[in-house]
Assembly symmetry: D2
Amino acid sequence: VISAPFERAAIVTNTQVTLIQIDNYGPWTVTPTPRRETDLQALQAELYADLSRLIGAEEGYVFFARFDNVVAITNGMDAEALEHLQSTIGNRYPVTVSVSTARAATPATALGEATDALQASGSAQEAARSEAFLGHPDERTHAGDVQLAHFDVVDATKRLTDTVDAFAAFAQVERAHVELLEYAHEAHDALTFFVGGDNFIAVTPDLDRGEFEALIAHVASAAGVELRVGVGRGETAHTAGMTAKHALERCREQDRLVAGDCPAPAEQ
Amino acid sequence: VISAPFERAAIVTNTQVTLIQIDNYGPWTVTPTPRRETDLQALQAELYADLSRLIGAEEGYVFFARFDNVVAITNGMDAEALEHLQSTIGNRYPVTVSVSTARAATPATALGEATDALQASGSAQEAARSEAFLGHPDERTHAGDVQLAHFDVVDATKRLTDTVDAFAAFAQVERAHVELLEYAHEAHDALTFFVGGDNFIAVTPDLDRGEFEALIAHVASAAGVELRVGVGRGETAHTAGMTAKHALERCREQDRLVAGDCPAPAEQ
Amino acid sequence: VISAPFERAAIVTNTQVTLIQIDNYGPWTVTPTPRRETDLQALQAELYADLSRLIGAEEGYVFFARFDNVVAITNGMDAEALEHLQSTIGNRYPVTVSVSTARAATPATALGEATDALQASGSAQEAARSEAFLGHPDERTHAGDVQLAHFDVVDATKRLTDTVDAFAAFAQVERAHVELLEYAHEAHDALTFFVGGDNFIAVTPDLDRGEFEALIAHVASAAGVELRVGVGRGETAHTAGMTAKHALERCREQDRLVAGDCPAPAEQ
Amino acid sequence: VISAPFERAAIVTNTQVTLIQIDNYGPWTVTPTPRRETDLQALQAELYADLSRLIGAEEGYVFFARFDNVVAITNGMDAEALEHLQSTIGNRYPVTVSVSTARAATPATALGEATDALQASGSAQEAARSEAFLGHPDERTHAGDVQLAHFDVVDATKRLTDTVDAFAAFAQVERAHVELLEYAHEAHDALTFFVGGDNFIAVTPDLDRGEFEALIAHVASAAGVELRVGVGRGETAHTAGMTAKHALERCREQDRLVAGDCPAPAEQ
């Protein structure tokens, strides 16, 4: 575990990204007639909960994204684990999923390659493409392969939840999300996702403190929302993510905005 | 069921909105130390799936919003049904929820009132406030109380899913979402939510065709994403929503952008 | 709520029983080859959890029985509620269910009629029979329509869980279950189910104290397991069941075996 | 994979058994007053579904048994995997679980040792004992460590589901279960569980064909139910179980009662 990411010479990240796409989902949702919306919501949420449990047990992270196109960070998972995931979903849902994995120095490059492979294998709305399994997931891990940044909104409860109305709070969080995700994607090939409450997680290549300060400044300027961030490196998403969460806690206690400013306890 | 919302003289909507907030959730997620992220994701998704099933069985709709602050349209549900929902969650989760309901001519006004009542009863991070139950949910329904608009992206599979990379597609959907939700909220007191894939649902007061055309034009201009919309009115969210879905299907078949343009079958 | 069932003149029960059968399940589990056992277990358990949530929200009870043939007590539920249940399962599972409902003076008679109607509509392993919906569920309720008896094992933790090995404890509970269910079925047309731990619930016609004492004596003699029972009457399974649970608590506190012996608090 | 268990010289099984017990569950279900039965049923079923998914992903099997005392066959799982299981349940449920593992030449001996360790660590109803983790789970596996027998009822659909009433069918299955489980436990130190429909799975030491024939004869005589069985050996429960399922399919096709009679395809 590298807990003080800004003290070190840059190490290239090597993120394994898996795209999980429901096969032929759009047509299914309206066949023979549109299905009840709350059933679709429950189905999508259950599927995401299942992926969270199974990928979480293997030290990965997974983000709901569009729900029918889910993005997972799967360093540490091999083909057998991902094939099991595909098979168990096929046995328990009325839909199946295709799974495509790639690994690259930046998360966006890896996801781009995973997407290319999936698109080359057939359309998301082609009945013939079912349970495609693409790429070469590799369970071997190395220190520092994954860098994660865990953001939240400074004083969210006081500034948002307890004071403005629930939709205005939601709108501000969504605005912050979209400004953060676009900037981090375009400037750094990072993948940023909303994870509930006032929390965002960015899967990044090895950015330094100044780059995180610039991200936070951009969101403050573009969305009017002040963020704080903890950053972690690790051999898996879980390891990196837990380091990032602890760093975020220290930031909060010390009232600083970027985790690198916050001395880590010796044991980490 | 009012299936042709633009043919009629305006009728005032009367939307019953319920805010469901996890009690003291932020502190719980980091006590005694930060909890595993995938466990939090699974918990939030399960809770949302549960709400979808229970509220869906009562003809309501529910949106995940921030996951710890969930928004439901509950026309047709009384206090007993919502108290059951609160109690069953308290029995099956490590967290509890507070529930606050209000009803008004616009969805945003109703949610604002529900939020006010909840904030007045204590902070979202106050251990003493637990399982607050506020407002006077009323199961009586009237034709046209709820107006829902179901949007999707024109040719999303061809233009996004099958052609650009999965994160670029996600980013465009998120950008469309934030532009749509802000505009519809500010101009019309509507509540708009992403519901997966390339779909958004707006709970609106009685907007007319020109207002929907303006919404679509705004998103095309601000986000570069072309939307299509089906609109429905009904006594409950489910009734309105199913009408909206059918209207959206007709739009798609007839290649038009706003449902009101599309003749409804006589039986609707 | 009739809380003291043994003080009254006998009132005939009128139990509405619903049989929920997975369509064509056996063949599905081995097509094209046998499916992973843990996937089948998860699917069956999820389906039962779903039925518990949905039927529980309507004041009913449901018992897993054989998992592919589930038995529910549905006094208070109408056709719309049961059709919703059937439809929401069809939208979220790889299998569908048929639903058959009957009402009679004894639970076993009602279930027998529900079974007859389902068998007449086609085989459980006939692909053509899918989502049959049979009978005339009636939401009207009357005081005392349902009588439930909630049994547990006297001192189960001390005598079983904390002292004998986990399988021996399980075996004793199973032996008690089978002796109880056969006797109560043959002697009284009651339906008895294991509900976890050391608990059994019997749906009975209006049995009196002596008949419960005889049931308990039979299980003590045939299985060597001493049971205690609380009995409740109500217009729905939930109302009867909560009365039975409270009666069982009083029995435990007062160290008696049959609830009717235990004075109810005045407010019940 | 040893697919033809009766052709070989006896090899001693070495089953790793894990007992998962909900901590202090009985008191929780009635605190402050008895909780809604359908909530308890949903909670127990969800917990079992979760265990099935997580243990299934690691090649194990899990049986609901009493729901608050669940038995898993965990050859192939190490302490980390079982600790993750304990921790993820603690994060997502209102209850916690203790986990105790042992390994022995017979399944019943292993479960006995796991139970002893758990009982020595405190009572199932002692608030102070929470999330005990006992034993030394070992992920190393060896060919033939696990023997599983998968039973079903001959012509169950024709003889039971489609002809007798649903409770009579259930009663026969339960009677067969209890006769099978007691005999197999007492005569062979095997652990037998009902897994839904008309299926039972026995985790056995290395029994031979004659012993399975005797089991079947006993159930026919004691319960009046004719069973068929497929038997498998493997390094994990999943491997052994899939072999047993395929053997059972062959028995059914060839109309024989014990799998060992049925020639296995060469590739197994």
